[in-house]
Amino acid sequence: MALVILAMSAPALVFAENEASEGTSESSEAQSATTAEHEANDNKSSSTNSDLILVVTIAAIVSVVGYSSWKVYKIRRRAASKALV
């Protein structure tokens, strides 16, 4: 359930970052330095979010494989115990 909520909120997070990263241009050197610093921070947080998305994806696949394997094992065990009876 947590994975589903995280997956659904990921587009909103990235969209908000894209909107935040679109800024207006400034003329002075101090302002452009500040802008460069902000862009670096935006890139860094965008990269962190992208890493998170990949981690969530891999975690979802691993959990699906694990859950499916467990279900198959449970049914095999139940069938085996019925066969013994």
């Binding site: 994975l3 997956a7 990949l54 994806t57 891999i58 696949i61 959990s63 859950y67």
Partner: protein, 148 residues
């Protein structure tokens, strides 16, 4: 980074991407709508209800269409990714992983002869979380690439 705005191969690549998304939407909505329609009794035009057992003969054609369209969409997506490989990011990579897993689990479900493997394929292929993740990643990928 290379995005689909420059030079040769960019327009076919973008077209392939949209084609993959379109065929995936049609293929999956079709099967979902069919399964929902089959589970619910439909209202007769003159009132009352009738059984949807009449839909059963259509299951195989709908399933075959689902498989065909998704396969075509998958390979279109792979071609799109290969052409634009230099622009690969984590979201595109995640999307490729999810699509490959869905395709592989579908193949296992369809062609596995061993009962346990088939059951595993059915469980893995039908997980709701994977569908939600796939939709979210496609939306994210389109938003990011349009933004760039």
């Amino acid at each position: 980074m290379v995005f689909a705005e420059d030079g040769e191969g960019s327009n076919p690549a973008v077209t392939l991407g949209w084609f993959a998304i379109g065929s995936g939407i049609v293929a999956n909505l079709l099967l979902v709508a069919f399964k929902i329609a089959r589970k619910r009794p439909i209202a007769k035009l003159v009132g009352g209800y009738e059984s949807t057992s009449g839909l059963t003969p259509f299951y195989k054609p709908v399933l075959d269409l689902h498989i065909m369209l998704n396969s075509v969409g998958f390979f279109a997506g792979v071609a799109h990714g290969i052409i634009l490989l230099r622009g690969l990011d984590y979201v595109s990579l995640s999307l490729a992983i999810i699509m490959t897993f869905s395709m592989a689990s579908g193949i296992v479900l369809k062609y596995a002869s061993e009962k346990n493997l088939k059951f595993f394929g059915r469980l893995a292929h039908g997980q709701f979380i994977l569908a939600v993740l796939l939709i979210a990643l496609v939306a994210l990928h389109v938003i990011i690439m349009n933004g760039n």
